[in-house]
Subunit: 217 residues, 2 copies
Protein backbone atom coordinates (compact mmCIF):
# COMPACT_ATOMS: atom_id res chain seq x y z
CA UNK A 1 0.00 0.00 0.00
CA UNK A 2 1.43 3.41 -0.97
CA UNK A 3 2.04 6.14 1.62
CA UNK A 4 0.39 9.55 1.45
CA UNK A 5 1.64 12.72 3.11
CA UNK A 6 -1.70 14.50 3.07
CA UNK A 7 -4.77 12.31 3.27
CA UNK A 8 -8.37 13.52 2.91
CA UNK A 9 -10.21 13.24 6.21
CA UNK A 10 -13.50 12.49 4.47
CA UNK A 11 -13.96 10.90 1.02
CA UNK A 12 -17.21 10.92 -0.95
CA UNK A 13 -17.82 8.13 -3.44
CA UNK A 14 -20.06 8.43 -6.52
CA UNK A 15 -20.17 4.87 -7.89
CA UNK A 16 -21.56 5.62 -11.35
CA UNK A 17 -21.72 3.45 -14.45
CA UNK A 18 -23.41 0.24 -13.27
CA UNK A 19 -26.03 0.31 -16.04
CA UNK A 20 -23.53 1.12 -18.78
CA UNK A 21 -21.30 -1.69 -17.49
CA UNK A 22 -24.18 -4.19 -17.62
CA UNK A 23 -25.02 -3.22 -21.19
CA UNK A 24 -21.36 -3.49 -22.24
CA UNK A 25 -21.47 -7.05 -20.87
CA UNK A 26 -24.66 -8.01 -22.70
CA UNK A 27 -26.83 -7.89 -19.58
CA UNK A 28 -29.94 -5.90 -18.76
CA UNK A 29 -29.26 -2.49 -17.22
CA UNK A 30 -30.58 -3.52 -13.80
CA UNK A 31 -28.13 -6.42 -13.58
CA UNK A 32 -25.18 -4.06 -13.09
CA UNK A 33 -25.89 -2.96 -9.54
CA UNK A 34 -25.05 -6.24 -7.83
CA UNK A 35 -21.55 -6.02 -9.33
CA UNK A 36 -21.02 -2.77 -7.44
CA UNK A 37 -21.20 -4.25 -3.93
CA UNK A 38 -17.80 -5.94 -3.74
CA UNK A 39 -15.95 -2.83 -5.05
CA UNK A 40 -17.50 -0.78 -2.23
CA UNK A 41 -16.33 -3.26 0.34
CA UNK A 42 -12.78 -3.29 -1.06
CA UNK A 43 -12.74 0.48 -0.95
CA UNK A 44 -13.91 0.45 2.68
CA UNK A 45 -11.12 -1.93 3.68
CA UNK A 46 -8.43 0.13 1.94
CA UNK A 47 -9.67 3.34 3.57
CA UNK A 48 -9.63 1.75 7.04
CA UNK A 49 -6.02 0.64 6.46
CA UNK A 50 -5.02 4.11 5.24
CA UNK A 51 -6.63 5.82 8.23
CA UNK A 52 -9.35 7.74 6.41
CA UNK A 53 -11.84 8.96 9.04
CA UNK A 54 -15.07 9.13 7.08
CA UNK A 55 -16.45 7.66 3.87
CA UNK A 56 -19.78 8.48 2.22
CA UNK A 57 -21.33 6.40 -0.57
CA UNK A 58 -23.92 7.80 -2.97
CA UNK A 59 -26.48 4.99 -2.86
CA UNK A 60 -29.58 6.11 -4.71
CA UNK A 61 -31.64 9.27 -4.97
CA UNK A 62 -35.30 10.17 -5.06
CA UNK A 63 -34.71 11.15 -8.72
CA UNK A 64 -33.25 7.71 -9.48
CA UNK A 65 -36.49 6.06 -8.35
CA UNK A 66 -38.27 7.56 -11.38
CA UNK A 67 -36.49 4.90 -13.45
CA UNK A 68 -38.22 1.62 -14.44
CA UNK A 69 -39.25 -0.29 -11.31
CA UNK A 70 -37.08 -3.29 -12.17
CA UNK A 71 -34.06 -0.96 -11.93
CA UNK A 72 -35.34 0.66 -8.74
CA UNK A 73 -35.73 -2.73 -7.08
CA UNK A 74 -32.23 -3.72 -8.21
CA UNK A 75 -30.45 -0.69 -6.73
CA UNK A 76 -32.54 -0.86 -3.56
CA UNK A 77 -31.41 -4.45 -3.09
CA UNK A 78 -27.78 -3.56 -3.86
CA UNK A 79 -27.86 -0.84 -1.18
CA UNK A 80 -29.39 -3.15 1.41
CA UNK A 81 -26.86 -5.88 0.60
CA UNK A 82 -23.95 -3.42 0.81
CA UNK A 83 -25.06 -2.14 4.22
CA UNK A 84 -25.77 -5.63 5.56
CA UNK A 85 -22.33 -6.73 4.41
CA UNK A 86 -20.68 -3.79 6.18
CA UNK A 87 -22.77 -4.29 9.31
CA UNK A 88 -20.68 -7.41 10.00
CA UNK A 89 -17.47 -5.35 10.13
CA UNK A 90 -16.07 -2.40 12.06
CA UNK A 91 -17.82 0.84 11.15
CA UNK A 92 -19.89 3.65 12.58
CA UNK A 93 -22.76 3.28 10.15
CA UNK A 94 -25.23 6.00 9.20
CA UNK A 95 -27.92 6.01 6.51
CA UNK A 96 -29.27 9.37 5.38
CA UNK A 97 -32.34 9.60 3.18
CA UNK A 98 -36.05 10.22 3.07
CA UNK A 99 -37.59 7.51 5.24
CA UNK A 100 -41.13 8.88 4.76
CA UNK A 101 -41.49 7.00 1.51
CA UNK A 102 -42.14 3.36 0.60
CA UNK A 103 -39.00 3.58 -1.56
CA UNK A 104 -36.79 3.67 1.53
CA UNK A 105 -35.89 0.03 2.34
CA UNK A 106 -37.33 -0.90 5.78
CA UNK A 107 -34.29 -3.08 6.58
CA UNK A 108 -32.16 0.06 6.79
CA UNK A 109 -34.29 1.96 9.34
CA UNK A 110 -32.09 0.86 12.30
CA UNK A 111 -29.17 2.78 10.80
CA UNK A 112 -30.82 6.17 10.36
CA UNK A 113 -29.07 7.15 13.58
CA UNK A 114 -25.36 6.36 13.68
CA UNK A 115 -24.68 2.82 14.94
CA UNK A 116 -21.26 1.72 16.12
CA UNK A 117 -20.46 -1.75 14.88
CA UNK A 118 -17.49 -3.70 16.19
CA UNK A 119 -14.59 -1.36 16.85
CA UNK A 120 -16.09 1.43 14.76
CA UNK A 121 -12.80 2.34 13.08
CA UNK A 122 -14.36 4.66 10.49
CA UNK A 123 -17.56 6.61 9.93
CA UNK A 124 -19.33 5.13 6.91
CA UNK A 125 -22.38 6.89 5.49
CA UNK A 126 -24.78 5.79 2.78
CA UNK A 127 -27.21 8.08 1.01
CA UNK A 128 -30.35 6.04 0.44
CA UNK A 129 -33.47 7.53 -1.16
CA UNK A 130 -31.65 10.83 -0.77
CA UNK A 131 -32.61 14.09 -2.45
CA UNK A 132 -30.64 17.34 -2.30
CA UNK A 133 -33.85 19.41 -2.04
CA UNK A 134 -35.22 17.10 0.66
CA UNK A 135 -31.89 17.45 2.53
CA UNK A 136 -31.80 21.26 2.39
CA UNK A 137 -35.50 21.77 3.12
CA UNK A 138 -35.48 20.14 6.57
CA UNK A 139 -35.54 21.77 10.01
CA UNK A 140 -36.32 25.30 9.05
CA UNK A 141 -38.20 26.19 12.22
CA UNK A 142 -37.71 29.74 13.45
CA UNK A 143 -35.86 28.86 16.63
CA UNK A 144 -33.30 27.02 14.51
CA UNK A 145 -32.54 29.99 12.28
CA UNK A 146 -29.71 31.15 14.50
CA UNK A 147 -27.68 28.03 13.79
CA UNK A 148 -25.50 27.92 10.69
CA UNK A 149 -27.14 26.50 7.59
CA UNK A 150 -24.96 23.39 7.52
CA UNK A 151 -26.24 22.41 11.00
CA UNK A 152 -29.89 22.67 9.98
CA UNK A 153 -29.98 20.22 7.08
CA UNK A 154 -31.12 16.60 7.17
CA UNK A 155 -27.57 15.39 6.53
CA UNK A 156 -26.07 17.52 9.33
CA UNK A 157 -24.41 14.45 10.87
CA UNK A 158 -22.27 14.02 7.75
CA UNK A 159 -19.16 16.21 7.89
CA UNK A 160 -17.51 18.37 5.22
CA UNK A 161 -16.04 16.34 2.36
CA UNK A 162 -12.45 16.84 1.22
CA UNK A 163 -12.31 14.61 -1.84
CA UNK A 164 -15.05 13.21 -4.06
CA UNK A 165 -14.12 10.33 -6.34
CA UNK A 166 -16.58 9.66 -9.13
CA UNK A 167 -16.42 6.61 -11.36
CA UNK A 168 -17.98 6.48 -14.83
CA UNK A 169 -16.39 9.56 -16.42
CA UNK A 170 -18.90 12.30 -15.63
CA UNK A 171 -17.59 15.59 -14.22
CA UNK A 172 -20.56 16.58 -12.10
CA UNK A 173 -21.93 16.23 -8.56
CA UNK A 174 -25.50 15.17 -9.51
CA UNK A 175 -26.97 16.39 -6.22
CA UNK A 176 -24.43 14.65 -3.98
CA UNK A 177 -24.50 16.47 -0.59
CA UNK A 178 -24.31 20.02 -2.00
CA UNK A 179 -23.38 21.61 1.34
CA UNK A 180 -20.67 19.14 2.38
CA UNK A 181 -19.25 19.23 -1.18
CA UNK A 182 -18.83 23.02 -1.37
CA UNK A 183 -15.02 22.91 -1.07
CA UNK A 184 -14.45 19.28 -2.10
CA UNK A 185 -12.00 18.41 -4.86
CA UNK A 186 -13.61 16.25 -7.55
CA UNK A 187 -11.56 13.46 -9.10
CA UNK A 188 -13.12 11.55 -11.97
CA UNK A 189 -12.22 7.98 -12.98
CA UNK A 190 -13.27 7.07 -16.51
CA UNK A 191 -13.74 3.37 -15.66
CA UNK A 192 -17.25 2.26 -14.76
CA UNK A 193 -17.84 1.45 -11.09
CA UNK A 194 -18.03 -2.38 -11.39
CA UNK A 195 -14.57 -2.19 -13.00
CA UNK A 196 -13.20 -0.65 -9.77
CA UNK A 197 -9.56 -1.37 -9.02
CA UNK A 198 -7.82 -0.31 -5.82
CA UNK A 199 -5.30 1.63 -7.99
CA UNK A 200 -8.11 4.07 -8.82
CA UNK A 201 -8.25 5.06 -5.15
CA UNK A 202 -4.47 5.48 -4.94
CA UNK A 203 -4.47 7.52 -8.15
CA UNK A 204 -7.09 9.86 -6.68
CA UNK A 205 -5.17 10.16 -3.41
CA UNK A 206 -1.92 10.98 -5.22
CA UNK A 207 -3.75 13.70 -7.16
CA UNK A 208 -5.37 15.01 -3.97
CA UNK A 209 -1.94 15.52 -2.35
CA UNK A 210 -1.12 18.06 -5.06
CA UNK A 211 -4.26 20.14 -4.47
CA UNK A 212 -4.13 23.34 -2.49
CA UNK A 213 -6.77 23.61 0.24
CA UNK A 214 -7.93 27.22 0.60
CA UNK A 215 -11.60 26.99 1.71
CA UNK A 216 -12.15 30.28 -0.17
CA UNK A 217 -9.60 32.23 1.94
Amino acid sequence: MPMFQRLPRHIGIIPDGNRRWAQNHGMNKEDGYSYGIEPGFELYKACVELGVEELTFYGFTVDNTKRPSVQTRAFQKACVDAVMNLSKHDANLLIVGNTNSPLFPRELLPYTKRVMIGKGLMNVNFLVNYGWDWDLSQSRSNNERKRSFSKRIASADISRIDLIIRWGGRQRLSGFLPIQSIYADLYVIDNLWPDFRIEHLYEALHWYQLQDVTLGG
Copy 2:
Protein backbone atom coordinates in the same frame (compact mmCIF):
# COMPACT_ATOMS: atom_id res chain seq x y z
CA MET B 1 -16.02 30.56 -35.00
CA PRO B 2 -16.69 26.80 -34.67
CA MET B 3 -20.22 25.39 -34.78
CA PHE B 4 -21.74 23.39 -31.93
CA GLN B 5 -24.63 20.95 -32.19
CA ARG B 6 -25.57 21.08 -28.53
CA LEU B 7 -24.87 24.31 -26.73
CA PRO B 8 -25.28 24.88 -22.98
CA ARG B 9 -28.13 27.26 -22.29
CA HIS B 10 -26.39 28.70 -19.23
CA ILE B 11 -22.63 28.80 -18.60
CA GLY B 12 -21.02 29.52 -15.22
CA ILE B 13 -17.53 31.02 -15.16
CA ILE B 14 -15.05 30.60 -12.30
CA PRO B 15 -12.19 32.93 -13.26
CA ASP B 16 -9.55 31.63 -10.87
CA GLY B 17 -5.80 32.19 -10.80
CA ASN B 18 -5.42 36.00 -10.88
CA ARG B 19 -3.13 36.05 -7.85
CA ARG B 20 -0.96 33.18 -9.05
CA TRP B 21 -0.70 34.88 -12.44
CA ALA B 22 0.46 38.14 -10.84
CA GLN B 23 3.12 36.36 -8.81
CA ASN B 24 4.33 34.47 -11.90
CA HIS B 25 4.78 37.86 -13.55
CA GLY B 26 6.71 39.38 -10.65
CA MET B 27 3.79 41.52 -9.47
CA ASN B 28 2.00 41.72 -6.14
CA LYS B 29 -0.92 39.30 -5.77
CA GLU B 30 -3.51 42.08 -5.88
CA ASP B 31 -2.24 43.34 -9.23
CA GLY B 32 -3.65 40.29 -11.04
CA TYR B 33 -7.34 41.14 -10.87
CA SER B 34 -7.29 44.04 -13.34
CA TYR B 35 -5.92 41.64 -15.97
CA GLY B 36 -9.08 39.57 -15.63
CA ILE B 37 -11.51 42.20 -16.94
CA GLU B 38 -10.73 42.06 -20.66
CA PRO B 39 -10.94 38.22 -20.73
CA GLY B 40 -14.45 38.41 -19.25
CA PHE B 41 -15.53 40.86 -21.91
CA GLU B 42 -14.11 38.67 -24.72
CA LEU B 43 -15.97 35.72 -23.29
CA TYR B 44 -19.21 37.71 -23.17
CA LYS B 45 -18.86 38.71 -26.84
CA ALA B 46 -18.17 35.15 -27.97
CA CYS B 47 -21.17 33.81 -26.00
CA VAL B 48 -23.47 36.42 -27.54
CA GLU B 49 -22.30 35.40 -31.01
CA LEU B 50 -22.80 31.71 -30.23
CA GLY B 51 -26.30 32.29 -28.88
CA VAL B 52 -25.72 31.29 -25.25
CA GLU B 53 -28.72 32.52 -23.24
CA GLU B 54 -27.20 33.11 -19.83
CA LEU B 55 -23.73 33.65 -18.39
CA THR B 56 -22.79 33.89 -14.70
CA PHE B 57 -19.43 35.16 -13.46
CA TYR B 58 -18.07 34.31 -10.01
CA GLY B 59 -16.94 37.77 -8.88
CA PHE B 60 -15.97 37.56 -5.23
CA THR B 61 -17.31 35.92 -2.10
CA VAL B 62 -17.82 36.87 1.52
CA ASP B 63 -15.01 34.37 2.31
CA ASN B 64 -12.67 36.13 -0.15
CA THR B 65 -13.04 39.39 1.78
CA LYS B 66 -11.13 37.82 4.71
CA ARG B 67 -8.00 38.29 2.59
CA PRO B 68 -5.66 41.30 3.09
CA SER B 69 -7.58 44.53 2.46
CA VAL B 70 -5.34 45.56 -0.44
CA GLN B 71 -6.51 42.41 -2.24
CA THR B 72 -10.13 42.97 -1.28
CA ARG B 73 -10.03 46.51 -2.70
CA ALA B 74 -8.43 45.22 -5.89
CA PHE B 75 -11.07 42.57 -6.63
CA GLN B 76 -13.90 44.92 -5.64
CA LYS B 77 -12.57 47.43 -8.18
CA ALA B 78 -12.16 44.74 -10.85
CA CYS B 79 -15.81 43.68 -10.37
CA VAL B 80 -17.08 47.24 -10.58
CA ASP B 81 -14.99 47.92 -13.69
CA ALA B 82 -16.19 44.72 -15.36
CA VAL B 83 -19.85 45.54 -14.71
CA MET B 84 -19.46 49.18 -15.80
CA ASN B 85 -17.76 48.00 -18.98
CA LEU B 86 -20.61 45.60 -19.71
CA SER B 87 -23.24 48.21 -18.85
CA LYS B 88 -22.32 50.00 -22.09
CA HIS B 89 -23.24 46.93 -24.15
CA ASP B 90 -26.26 44.69 -24.72
CA ALA B 91 -27.04 42.58 -21.68
CA ASN B 92 -29.72 41.87 -19.10
CA LEU B 93 -27.51 42.52 -16.09
CA LEU B 94 -28.06 41.14 -12.60
CA ILE B 95 -25.78 41.32 -9.55
CA VAL B 96 -26.41 38.83 -6.74
CA GLY B 97 -24.70 39.20 -3.38
CA ASN B 98 -25.06 40.39 0.18
CA THR B 99 -25.77 44.12 -0.07
CA ASN B 100 -26.14 44.48 3.73
CA SER B 101 -22.40 44.85 4.09
CA PRO B 102 -19.93 47.68 3.46
CA LEU B 103 -17.99 45.20 1.32
CA PHE B 104 -20.67 45.31 -1.38
CA PRO B 105 -19.66 48.11 -3.81
CA ARG B 106 -22.32 50.87 -3.75
CA GLU B 107 -21.89 51.51 -7.49
CA LEU B 108 -23.44 48.11 -8.20
CA LEU B 109 -26.67 48.58 -6.21
CA PRO B 110 -28.69 49.63 -9.32
CA TYR B 111 -28.13 46.15 -10.79
CA THR B 112 -29.39 44.06 -7.88
CA LYS B 113 -32.61 43.76 -9.83
CA ARG B 114 -32.18 42.68 -13.46
CA VAL B 115 -31.61 45.69 -15.77
CA MET B 116 -32.00 45.43 -19.53
CA ILE B 117 -29.24 47.33 -21.28
CA GLY B 118 -29.37 48.03 -25.01
CA LYS B 119 -30.92 45.07 -26.81
CA GLY B 120 -30.42 42.74 -23.86
CA LEU B 121 -29.24 39.81 -26.00
CA MET B 122 -28.09 37.67 -23.07
CA ASN B 123 -28.65 37.40 -19.31
CA VAL B 124 -25.36 38.18 -17.59
CA ASN B 125 -25.07 37.65 -13.85
CA PHE B 126 -22.25 38.56 -11.49
CA LEU B 127 -21.86 37.17 -7.98
CA VAL B 128 -20.53 40.02 -5.86
CA ASN B 129 -19.94 39.66 -2.13
CA TYR B 130 -21.76 36.35 -2.52
CA GLY B 131 -21.83 33.55 0.03
CA TRP B 132 -23.39 30.13 -0.47
CA ASP B 133 -24.70 30.08 3.11
CA TRP B 134 -26.08 33.60 2.74
CA ASP B 135 -27.76 32.51 -0.52
CA LEU B 136 -29.40 29.41 0.93
CA SER B 137 -30.44 30.98 4.24
CA GLN B 138 -32.75 33.62 2.71
CA SER B 139 -36.56 33.71 2.59
CA ARG B 140 -37.36 30.85 4.89
CA SER B 141 -40.66 32.23 6.14
CA ASN B 142 -43.37 29.66 6.79
CA ASN B 143 -45.68 30.77 4.02
CA GLU B 144 -42.85 30.23 1.55
CA ARG B 145 -42.22 26.64 2.58
CA LYS B 146 -44.61 25.30 -0.02
CA ARG B 147 -42.44 26.58 -2.87
CA SER B 148 -39.55 24.44 -4.07
CA PHE B 149 -36.24 25.13 -2.39
CA SER B 150 -34.64 26.57 -5.53
CA LYS B 151 -37.32 29.29 -5.65
CA ARG B 152 -36.70 30.39 -2.06
CA ILE B 153 -33.00 31.23 -2.25
CA ALA B 154 -31.44 34.66 -2.68
CA SER B 155 -30.16 33.73 -6.14
CA ALA B 156 -33.56 32.44 -7.34
CA ASP B 157 -33.43 34.71 -10.41
CA ILE B 158 -30.37 32.84 -11.69
CA SER B 159 -31.39 29.71 -13.61
CA ARG B 160 -29.96 26.18 -13.56
CA ILE B 161 -26.42 25.99 -14.95
CA ASP B 162 -25.50 23.47 -17.66
CA LEU B 163 -21.75 23.95 -17.88
CA ILE B 164 -19.25 25.47 -15.46
CA ILE B 165 -15.85 26.42 -16.85
CA ARG B 166 -13.17 27.00 -14.24
CA TRP B 167 -9.77 28.47 -15.03
CA GLY B 168 -6.72 27.91 -12.83
CA GLY B 169 -6.68 24.10 -12.63
CA ARG B 170 -8.75 23.41 -9.53
CA GLN B 171 -11.48 20.76 -9.75
CA ARG B 172 -13.94 22.18 -7.25
CA LEU B 173 -16.95 24.48 -7.04
CA SER B 174 -15.78 26.61 -4.08
CA GLY B 175 -19.31 27.62 -3.13
CA PHE B 176 -20.38 28.71 -6.62
CA LEU B 177 -24.22 28.65 -6.67
CA PRO B 178 -24.64 25.19 -5.09
CA ILE B 179 -28.27 24.81 -6.13
CA GLN B 180 -27.94 25.91 -9.75
CA SER B 181 -24.78 23.78 -10.08
CA ILE B 182 -26.36 20.50 -8.92
CA TYR B 183 -26.41 18.95 -12.41
CA ALA B 184 -23.79 21.15 -14.09
CA ASP B 185 -20.84 19.62 -15.90
CA LEU B 186 -17.52 21.01 -14.66
CA TYR B 187 -14.77 21.66 -17.18
CA VAL B 188 -11.40 22.76 -15.84
CA ILE B 189 -8.82 24.78 -17.78
CA ASP B 190 -5.31 24.60 -16.36
CA ASN B 191 -4.36 28.08 -17.59
CA LEU B 192 -4.78 30.95 -15.15
CA TRP B 193 -7.68 33.32 -15.87
CA PRO B 194 -5.63 36.32 -17.13
CA ASP B 195 -4.14 33.91 -19.72
CA PHE B 196 -7.65 33.33 -21.11
CA ARG B 197 -7.85 32.53 -24.81
CA ILE B 198 -11.08 32.13 -26.74
CA GLU B 199 -9.95 28.59 -27.66
CA HIS B 200 -10.49 27.63 -24.00
CA LEU B 201 -14.20 28.34 -24.42
CA TYR B 202 -14.41 26.33 -27.65
CA GLU B 203 -12.51 23.45 -26.03
CA ALA B 204 -15.03 23.40 -23.16
CA LEU B 205 -17.98 23.55 -25.57
CA HIS B 206 -16.60 20.68 -27.65
CA TRP B 207 -16.24 18.62 -24.49
CA TYR B 208 -19.75 19.59 -23.34
CA GLN B 209 -21.27 18.23 -26.57
CA LEU B 210 -20.02 14.76 -25.62
CA GLN B 211 -21.64 14.80 -22.17
CA ASP B 212 -24.85 12.97 -21.50
CA VAL B 213 -27.50 15.04 -19.73
CA THR B 214 -29.57 12.89 -17.38
CA LEU B 215 -30.60 15.19 -14.49
CA GLY B 216 -30.49 12.14 -12.22
CA GLY B 217 -33.15 10.23 -14.20
